[in-house]
Amino acid sequence: MPAFFWNSARKQPGTPVPRRARLPLPAGLARALLLLTIPAWLFGQDSSITVNPAGNGRDNNDRTFHFFPDSRDRPLADTEGKPLNNRQVTEDFGPDGSLFLTLDGEALAGEDSLGWELRPSPRGIDDLDWLDNSFPGRGQIRVDVTRGRIKSNPSLNFKYPMFSDSGFDLGSVAPEHPAYLLLLALDGGDGQNARRFGLVVYRPAGGSVYKYGLFTTGPDTPPTTWNNGNTDDGQSVFIPGGTRDLPGSEGICRQAEKARSLDLTRGSFALQCGTRVYYWELTQSTDLNAMAGSPTGTINSVSTNTSADAVQDQSSVKPKIRLFGMAYQNNDLKIVYTRDTGSGTEVRLHNPDTLVSVPEVSDYSDTYGGAVWHFGYGNARSPAIDCFSDVCFVVWSQLFNPTSAPGSKEFILLGRRFGDITDNALRRINDSTNTAVSQTAIVATGYRRALFAFHHERLYEPDDGDSKFYPASSMAYYKGRTSCDPADFTPPRTPPASCWPDKMDQITYGGNNGPDNRWLSTVENISPVRYSFLVPERRRGSRPDTSVNRVMALWSQPATTNRLVDTASANRLYYRVWQYENLSSSLRDIPVMTNARQLGSGDGEMESFRFSWTENGQGRLTYLQDGRPYFHVFNGTDFRDNQEMRVSTNNDALALEHTWSRHPRPSESAPSDGQTLITWIEDNRLYLRVFLDQIRLEARYYPQEYGPVLTPAGKQTPLLRNNYARPGDDRPVDIYVNKRNSSDRVTVRIFTLGGRLIKTIKSGARVDSFSQPLQWDRTNRAGEPVASGLYRIVVSGGGKTETGVAVIVK
């Protein structure tokens, strides 16, 4: 790296930014993700790099950063206008945290060579101040800008405390027992006051019962005030009120489950301890101390000490009740679990508030306190539940002939508010007689669609005559009508019945040979595979159309001759992805993903898979391998190289958890787009790290001779943003005008599709390239809201004209 590059931009942390370089920055911004995007383009070709400081490089604190180019990544172009497709562009942080770029090993420096133009974030450069204000003394971002260009070296000092590396002491976590981390990630109702809550449940060494505690992050508890409660070093989270005993949790508790309400105001966790299931419900509150300090009375036991339970107590070997799923139907908690009856296992739904009568299965039902009912009977296993809006789906499988002719039947139960379940609500979707035994059922619902998946161990008879099983999967799905109003799916509104299936025969099942029935692989023998189907998280009403569009299978396998994936490596994580394309009714393989891929480089067995999809199509994966916590970012449809992040360097982690959250609607002053909270326990300490989703640096690159004025309307930096106003959406249309000569005058006008002038936003005005985008409030000249339809937005100036289209639906 040439030395000149390192000289100018490198400044010590805390060095004040020169006044002339500072921008008028508002204060009091919420912490979260900062998006900065740097596109470079030439002759209409946009280029950008995306910088994701999660690894790949180290700063002066020996923290590691990575750059994760996302789908917007485009090659740069040189000063001759030639694309740099075949030239190596490298981004990295310098020792002091400065960002630097190299082209074929030579640093890019200043406008004389490449003309970097900093354009940080669609929300404006003002947002940069958020880092400084939110993390005083810890993070600093410094930008020297002269008329939109970095004055000297294109350096961006970035010192953001990605993680709080110091944990706090849990006390004594018995290493032989797992500690459960339950990150509920309850967000506040708006982007300004969002907070995240987490729960930790653990059993201290020598203790007889588990303890639980609450920790939180949020604007009310900025890092500088985290030195409170039980924290020990001022850098970690705190637990107001300390930890409390979890009543009834004698022995070993298992199967931590959690659920969040769709509107992110409630969350629950549950543990199966001994013969009982306990759940604890948390409601988001603005009074943190009051909420966390008085959790009494909120511990509930699903099963009561009834005579039925007494019968179950006859079995002292296996638990009577196993919890398998929790979900919120709007704000009503639903818990689905199995219960041993002595002669089999039945599936039961705990519905705390409403007594539900299901005619079809009434013969089997008995109720406890009017709140519990069961619908599967005999060898039922692996139920799952998921709800979206006012509809819940419950799926499970039931074994039959478990010894002589193994097989299973798979069921789906549809419940609308669980008060009007009809005879058609229950459907057996598969009958895998003598062929397969269902292991796990997965259900995910989203906007007008639901996806069901079942794992099998499918019978296979190789030439040697020995019957074996191999893993397989089958899926069923429902896709609703397209004419429903997405806003109806956001509480408190409820969609009309026509937007959900009224009968279960409207559920489509792929069948054994159908296009939606996918085998993980055709293997020669049993592979003791640990695998899991993963489905996207639900979304709020803003962009629900891609809510359930991907399914991911993850598994690890040891080194055996009979393996799922033909590889010599052992004990590694493999994955495969299916996804809906264009909301079509069929599942398709992603072309590049026809074969399973390998993740990780270790050889140990992988545990504690946790996966979540973010709203921008990325995934988050955490797992433990040999006691080491790992974190991956799954980008679009594929993991990429060097995206593995070692969360910790130690080897004694007991638990690992992450959750991804975002603000429902980021505001101008709260650029938070989302963040991933990673917690783990090691060495008897609880650790928390905040992983910021991508920090994008946008720069515009162009040769000096390239003409003035406007941003080409391209993929990476479009002319418009928020140009699709759905019903109830009141956000203005953002119009980005980036003139390049100070003398250019820009006119921005709105026309109907037929060319009638609606409004003039700017007329011959000098628009600052780096100010906030121009906005159209969707009114005409008289200030009246315009009607539904398409509208042209025409930006002209400097001899160029760009046209975009805004669509408004009411």
Binding site: K715, Y724, G728, G754, L790, V805
Partner: protein, 440 residues
Amino acid sequence: MMKALTICLKPTRRSTRCRGSVSVIFLFIFLAPATLAAEPGIATLESLTLSQSARAGGLAGAYGAHLEEGPGMFYNPAGLTNIYFPQAGFDYSRLPGTWKQSGRESGPGYQQLFYANPTNYGNWGAAVRHFNSGTFDVVDEEFVTETRDAADTIVTGSYAFAVGDLSVGTGFNIINSRLADYSARTWAIDTGLLLYLDMPSFLKRRKNNNVSLGASFQNIGPGLSYSRDRSPLPFQYRFSAGWSLLYYKLVENALYFDYLTVHRQYSELQAGMEWTFFRYIQLRGGVAWSPNSVLDGNKLRLAAGASLSLPTLGNGYKFHYGLIPRGGETYHQFGTTLIFGGQAQGVPWFPSFRSDGKESAGPRRVLITDAEKERLDPLDAQVLILLRQQIYIFEEEKGRFPGNLNELLLYLNKKNIYDIPNPSEGQFVYNNRTGLLLIR
């Protein structure tokens, strides 16, 4: 009631006042809701107001008084009374203004199919229009870009009849609109009047100058709601005038003016001129002016077009082309019309007067009106005047209108007024509603 209405609609002298009253009632019936629908504010479904014909496009939209082809029903449904032969056609057009989405050019356009048919009980027309708004990129808060499109499909049924020199028409539209991920349906009513007048004497430069005056009120309906809110339709009223300046065997010329207002949001004055050479070639041009500037910032827009007629195999074929330059770009519109058994020569001004059967391969059509009889060839004029007179005599003698052609011809034969060798062969087709006599 029905009897009174039947008598009223009969083209007799006694019912003239009655017909006038009916026309006024129709006018009020359709004007009243149209006025109520004209709320201030921006209307949706702009596709209902955009150019719907290649021929109209070449006249800059000044098509409200020029209505002897099927697409005229989109400008004034009363013009269907000028359809004398069954006809079908197709139009395809791009509309001005394109944009780039995902690096490719896109923009609005439309296609339409129409059919029109004259009957003894008035003329009707039907059409399917598909307005494609093109594809466009939508960018969300996170700059995630996706592609959407929009389109409107409009099914139209129209009906028109003549009451003397006044034509009255109405149309009913069923509209399905798709806008990105949403769709909606609604309906709309069009109505119109068209009046043929002799030119005032002080304006007459030649004997057979003629004028047509039209008024249409369109897109009267309940509005459209994609989800929650209902947006009004673009109620539009249009006043039109046409003037035949020249009428010779080889050269014809007509001038058209339209004034329209769309939902009180904007108005436009349109003017077009059409030349017909040798009856088979047409050239036209138009200009429109609006106080509201349009897409390219100009208040004035120009248009031009041409048509070619091919009389073959007893049918007529017309090919239309429209040229619309705007904002440095040029947009092309294409259309074709097939006239079953009709003349394809030129685009005549009031084809009912084109009764020169010696040059026409197809059947001729004549209109029995006093105002137009002077323009008929001498022989046809004599026949028609005679026929009309005899119809009146028939009515006076028998107290009723002749029930059918054969009855009339037998009557004429009996009176030795007009010698029809074999009336049963049906060489004449008489429309007792429109007063038209088709001579085959």
